[in-house]
């Protein structure tokens, strides 16, 4: 599209673009310089503030917190996928008494903020006598209910994007309903939706950070803990930089993987036609998928 909006730039346009490029770079450099100077002026780069990161024990704790984050992410990811698959089957059911309750369930859990779900688990249930709710359980349940519901819609639109001939042909060769779904429709739908599914997993990973608010001992919790050590001059900014970088790198890796899968799919043979459109529509419709787009 953008190449149809303007001509290939000539000498004058090129000169103008170069000037605009320089201005952009200067503005961005000025903003970054301001932040860094400000950090330096308020002593954020002082040795005392960074000293805490010289201890092996601190890094062991960092590894542990990263493990906690990844553990919650892995469990919630697997459970969300399972829940999403089950819900999408219900959502596609021909029986109204299955379809309608499942649809309501999906819409309900897509509408409630994840943090509120976690709070319901963590603060709401223990007074009622439910005693197994640790922060970990609360985080995983909240993430699973929300992302499972979102993934159910992803699977459903994947199935619906397939040409109707697929379903008809499957029935015509004598498969039962379960066979049509498991052998014909779902394998194609999952393949077509793979980038969206992985992007949704990035959302799961990002949202484990919400655990900080329900006192789950993950990366941000540790950042707050080390950031308020007065022996080291309360290094909250160094701690945020270090722990934030770990989070961002983890998410970027997963997003990069989603992008890689998408490029491979687009290049590969036999990708269903409707899938691209369904994917774009869905992604736009959800507004949460954190995909690396070019």
């Amino acid at each position: 599209m953008s190449d149809a909006l303007y001509d290939v730039p000539g000498p004058r346009a090129n000169a103008r673009n170069r000037i605009l490029s320089v201005i952009t770079i200067l503005v961005v450099a000025a903003i970054l310089a301001f932040i860094i100077v400000r950090f330096a002026q308020t002593g954020q780069f002082s040795a005392q503030k960074w000293q805490i990161f010289t201890f092996p024990l601190v890094w062991e704790n960092v590894a542990q917190a990263t493990g906690a984050t990844l553990g919650a992410f892995a469990l919630a990811g697997v459970l969300s996928l399972a829940l999403g698959l089950i819900l999408s089957v219900g959502r596609l059911s021909e029986h109204a008494w299955v379809r309608i309750p499942v649809t309501l369930f999906i819409e309900l859990f897509r509408a409630i903020p994840v943090l509120i779900l976690m709070m319901i688990m963590y603060y709401g249930l223990p007074p009622l006598g439910v005693d197994f709710v640790t922060p970990f359980v609360a985080v995983v349940t909240g993430l699973t209910l929300y992302n499972g519901s979102v993934l159910a819609e992803v699977f459903r639109s994947g199935v619906e994007s397939l040409p109707t001939g697929q379903r008809e042909a499957a029935y015509a060769i004598g498969l039962r309903k379960s066979g049509v779904l498991t052998l014909i429709l779902y394998p194609q739908a999952i393949r077509a939706m793979m980038p969206v599914i992985i992007s949704q997993l990035v959302v799961v990973l990002k949202d484990t950070a919400l655990g900080f608010i329900v006192t789950f001992h993950e990366l941000l919790y540790l950042a707050k803990f080390y950031g308020s050590q007065f022996t080291y001059d309360a290094p909250i900014i160094p701690a945020t930089l270090v722990f934030g970088a770990i989070y961002v790198v983890l998410c970027l890796i997963l997003s990069g993987f989603a992008k890689w899968v998408e490029v491979r799919l687009r290049r590969g043979p036999g990708a269903p036609k409707g899938a691209d459109i369904a994917r774009t529509r869905l992604e736009a419709a959800d507004g949460v998928a954190a995909r690396v787009l070019d």
Partner: protein, 215 residues
């Protein structure tokens, strides 16, 4: 029901603050997002690069981390006092703007290429091609996904509760001091969120019907 009626004051204040956060952040996110989205389709390479880095970096940063930085890190920089709600609005705007930028960018791409070519063929300059031909069509395509971004923003405002902002997510903490059962309070909060999201979804469906383009 008693839990709600006896503490209506806190519920009203909480959701009022949620809506304030939502409206102001939405306003700034739309502005920043449109600028960044336009940068990403501009002919200037440096602008495209800056837009791409900004979007990819912030989209892969948890919103909680952004708020964490603004709520705990910013006061250490001695840049003058800024209240917690304002810091939350800054974090929400920066975060949501990346989603708006992606929606705006894909909006341009939904307009068939022939439209731009035809507009240029009849001699319209860049400004008129954009304002008379591309923008009106892209705008319609953008409305439904934009509403979804706003719905996500509304839900994301709850995160501010973890950073000293007295909005809907913080109602539970305040009411536990009054000895109300947390579960009932939270279920009411969840209920109101479902209502708000449903209202936005209805608005989305209405706008989509109203501005649908038949091709």
């Amino acid at each position: 029901m008693d839990t709600l009626l006896n503490n209506l004051d806190l519920f009203v204040v909480g959701f009022k603050n949620t809506l304030i956060l939502f409206v102001i952040s939405a306003f700034f996110a739309l502005i920043i997002g449109s600028v960044v989205g336009a940068m990403r389709v501009s002919p200037v390479p440096a602008m495209r690069a800056v837009g791409t880095v900004y979007v990819n970096l912030i989209r892969n940063t948890p919103l909680t981390l952004l708020m964490f930085f603004f709520a705990f890190g910013y006061p250490k920089l001695n840049l003058g006092h800024v209240s917690y709600p304002t810091l939350a609005i800054i974090a929400l705007s920066i975060y949501t703007a990346t989603y708006v930028a992606e929606v705006v960018r894909s909006g341009f791409n939904t307009v068939p290429k022939g439209q731009a070519e035809a507009a240029r063929a009849i001699g319209l300059p860049f400004g008129q091609t954009m304002s008379l031909v591309i923008m009106p069509q892209a705008f319609r395509a953008v409305i439904p996904p934009l509403m979804s971004v706003l719905i996500a923003l509304l839900k994301n405002t709850t995160i501010a509760a973890g950073f000293s902002v007295a909005e809907a997510g913080a109602i539970r903490a305040n009411l536990s001091e009054r000895g109300e059962p947390a579960i009932i309070v939270l279920l009411w909060v969840a209920f109101f969120f479902v209502v708000l999201v449903a209202l936005l979804s209805l608005l989305q469906a209405y706008l989509e019907r109203r501005w649908r383009v038949l091709r």
